[in-house]
């Protein structure tokens, strides 16, 4: 099974940047990428996704990042998003928002990519994501900084978060989330980093970059299916065979 880069941030106003990043991924041998289109409130052009997919033969999926300021803002942002084909990610350092997002079946991922959010991870939210079969996300970008003291601090926080998720047997994915072009790494290389520096088993690390991401994509597909009620429950028409 091939590996996924689960978070590649691109600015929709700069198509050259998108092109450069995807070509660089191709050069590194990355086969699957989940792109986060940063729109800064602007409307995404309908043909943009098609243009992106034509750049290379990389398998491209999309994600929508929601950064709500408060609970009301989260509820407002989630309205009408249930049918979106994108992966819905909520990123917040507020525990109330995290709990609400973990309870909501429209939210696929609770992201703990940022350092402030990472410090707020607690067993309650992990338990809720497990119940709702959603996912937790960690990112490795913070440990690729130049400043040594900051790097060790970030590594310590990340280690703590990943170990907590691992011990509670959470569903979690790990992404690169690299800003700079030359910081992007192949997921297989990141698996080694997770195994050696974050203390997770090689198999678990591989799952975070492949199997769990595939499960996440299946969840998104199921969310769009109106006949799907919950895990293991699906409405089927009389005479229709389950696929």
């Amino acid at each position: 099974m091939s590996y996924f880069e689960s978070r590649l941030r691109v600015n929709i106003n700069n198509f050259n940047e998108i092109e450069r990043k995807l070509c660089f991924c191709k050069l590194l041998g990355i086969q699957n990428v989940i792109v986060e289109l940063e729109n800064n409130g602007k409307k995404i052009q309908p043909d943009l996704k098609k243009r992106i997919e034509e750049i290379t033969n990389i398998n491209v999926k999309y994600r929508t990042n929601l950064i709500p300021k408060n609970l009301e803002s989260l509820i407002k942002k989630l309205k009408g998003i249930g049918q979106s084909s994108n992966i819905i990610v909520v990123e917040s350092a507020d525990k109330k928002i995290q709990i609400q997002a973990a309870k909501d079946s429209r939210v696929d991922v609770i992201s703990f990519s940022g350092q402030i959010a990472l410090k707020t991870i607690f067993p309650g939210v992990i338990s809720l994501t497990k119940q709702n079969q959603s996912f937790i996300e960690f990112s490795l970008a913070s440990i690729m900084v130049k400043n040594k003291s900051l790097q060790s601090k970030n590594l310590r926080n990340l280690y703590r978060g990943v170990q907590l998720a691992n011990n509670l047997k959470a569903n979690y994915i790990i992404s690169g989330n690299f800003d700079d072009l030359y910081s992007i790494r192949h997921p297989r290389a990141l698996i080694s980093v997770c195994h050696t520096l974050l203390g997770i088993s090689l198999l678990q690390a591989k799952n975070c970059f492949s199997k769990n991401v595939v499960s996440l994509l299946n969840r998104v597909q199921m969310r769009q299916d109106r006949n799907f009620i919950e895990s293991g429950v699906k409405l089927i028409n009389r005479g229709e065979k389950e696929s």
Binding site: F24, L27, L28, G29, M144, K146, D180, Y182, S183, I184, R185, H186, R188, A189, L190, S192, V193, H195, T196, L197, L202
Partner: protein
Amino acid sequence: MISEHSKPFNKQEILNSIWASLWKYFGLKEASRVGLWMVDINFLEGFGIIKCSHHTKEIVISALTLITEISGNKIVFSPIKTSGTIRSIQITKNLLLDKNKKNIKDIQIMKIS
């Protein structure tokens, strides 16, 4: 090996940066177990072959991954293949070289036409 500028590196610079990364992230104990050996490096094509103990394979890949620059020049070391024998790596290397040559030929043909 992908670098930001086409500034040439030398073998020693690359070896030093790998050792520095090994020391920085894994310390003396792990670094002493690695048995690092640079078998081959091709600066023109941008790849090389590194030999190490199979027990420390993941450590070496991590150390290579965490290298971000050499003397101010941004660089990416990305693993292509790992194998138990140098022979099979050489086969992969030759295949890659042929593929690169074919790509260059195709580009030249496209330019002519």
